[in-house]
């Protein structure tokens, strides 16, 4: 994926400022980050420290106030909204804390959504959806609606939707934040397997040190910058 050993994700001097009226919030103040392909990174930090903000910038949902973000060789910090849309569809899988499935669609239709933006045929889409649902262990629930699933199952559908296009990078914002311990552990097992067995590169925001322990590296965000890993490991 990355040429001549360069990191898959390169962040340099990243700044993000929010202005609310006269108020100015400097959330990110010079973040640097290198992430190799195949890593499973945990992002920790106090509430309001800017973890979600950073994840949004890495996933091209928002644009930085300053600094550069390079993913898989693409400079995404200067892309237009339309280009970012297409770039996200190809390279990023998002997993949300509250799953964010469409309640009116069945599990398989939810998983199919990102594939609608690809030139795949109907039968190819079906095959991809079946594979993704099998990977998250939900083959038997493809016709279920979100309200007919448990929280843990909904999150698995969310993960299936995130991986169905085989994205470059999987971004998870507190994927277990709304789950009980057992379901949360199952989700973490799944993410770990995706990383170890399928080589997925994952960035996961979490408040839970136990969850972070499943990853291959942990970084802490505080006062606008990333502190190197490991002081609480």
């Amino acid at each position: 994926m990355t040429e001549n050993g360069a990191a898959l994700v390169q962040v340099r001097n990243l700044h993000k400022v929010f202005k609310r009226g006269a108020e100015r919030i400097d959330v990110l103040q010079g973040v640097d980050l290198d992430l190799q392909s195949g890593e499973f990174l945990s992002l920790m930090g106090p509430s309001g420290s800017g973890k979600t903000t950073l994840l949004n910038l890495l996933g091209g949902l928002d644009t930085p106030s300053d600094g550069t973000v390079t993913v898989g060789g693409d400079r995404i910090d200067k892309l237009s909204a339309a280009r970012l849309s297409r770039w996200r569809a190809r390279h990023i899988g998002f997993v949300f804390q509250l799953y964010n499935l469409l309640p009116v669609l069945t599990a398989e239709r939810n998983v199919e959504l990102p594939l609608l933006l690809t030139p795949l045929s109907r039968s190819q889409r079906k095959k991809h959806v079946a594979t993704a649902l099998a990977m998250v262990g939900l083959s038997g629930r493809s016709k279920h609606y979100p309200r007919q699933l448990s929280g843990g199952q909904e999150q698995r559908v969310g993960i299936a939707r995130a991986i169905v296009t085989d994205p470059t990078l999987l971004l998870c914002d507190e994927p277990t934040g709304d789950l009980d311990r057992k379901s949360g552990d199952e989700i973490l097992d799944l993410l770990q397997a995706l990383n170890a067995e399928h080589g997925k590169t994952i960035i996961m925001v979490t408040h839970d040190a136990r969850a972070a322990a499943r990853s291959t590296r942990t970084l802490h965000l505080d006062k606008g910058t990333l502190a190197t890993e490991g002081h609480d490991r």
Partner: protein, 383 residues
Amino acid sequence: MKFFPLIWTSLFRRKVRTLFTILSIVVAFVLFNYLSAVRVAFSMGVDVAGSDRLTLIHKVSFIQLLPASYKERILAVEGVDAVTHATWFGGVYQDPRNFFPQFAVDPEGYLDLYPEFLLSSEAKDRWLGNRTGAVVGRSLADRFGWEVGDRIPLQGTIWRTRSGDTWEFTIDGIYEGAEQGTDTTQFLFHNAYLDEANALGRGMVGWYLIRVSHPDQAVAISTAIDERFANSPFETKTSTEQAFVQAFASQIGDIGAMMTAILTAVLFTILLVSANTMGQSVRERTSELAVLKTLGFTNPRVLSLVLVESLLVAVVGGGIGLGLSWLLISQGDPTGGLLPAFFVPPRDLVIAVGLIFFLGIASGILPGIQAVRLQIVDALRRS
């Protein structure tokens, strides 16, 4: 097409609301078509009146009679191709409420000027050979269940026979209309019968119908004819049939303008209703739309999803509405045959279809823009 399930299921998220919106669109378009048909009935003849036909009446009024001798003098005018005459009879069939127009005519001349009245040659021969014979239009015959051979008595109100006021006619034929808008409510009989049998006098007719060789010279010919009879005891006023019918129709009041006003109000209300539905539907889905955008749905795509959804509501509602109104209208006119015609002209159907699409786009455009403006990051934060 692969996005269709996404749109379809969004519609069924609030079944009752969608249903009511569709229902109000249905009602609006039933109303639209029905009123179109009524408007046509009242302005009847204006659209179908021959452009090569002129009507000549007494300058003072349509009810004043003219000498029958004018025929030859009119024919002598340059550009006049054929002339015939008609006289308003105004008789009553059984009950004054059974109104229909009755004209005393010169059969051959009249049929020649109205080629849109289709009469079989046997019926025509029968009529020509029968002094008290009459020919009636299809919808008039259907209205009273008349058949060829029936004897029809009419009470004269203007014209009386020397022996009384009942005139007897025999139906010799039923004419069909060549076009949907052709007037098939007329009752036509020999002017000769009226002329000989009436107690008032002879040699007078109601008005003249003139065919010109070149419709584009109609105005000049009209002027030439009227000049010819200027300063005579019977001065004339000649106009195209279209103008004549129009003037007659506008005596009833400008029904067309009234209907247009009603329809505009109705359609505007419906536009607000469906725009409101779409607006609500988009607002409720803020976080879902944000998710779609996160997955890489571009702004044009999101906009088209919303527009197709609102179009679908309009097309389903409007389609059912047009279908229903077609059923209703094909049942016939609500007065049971009093209106000379009752149908929706193709032009109005095209307008209706255009309005359906306009409604779909117009009600979806603002919510669609709202969906486009949606900032993913903010929307996800709020959810």
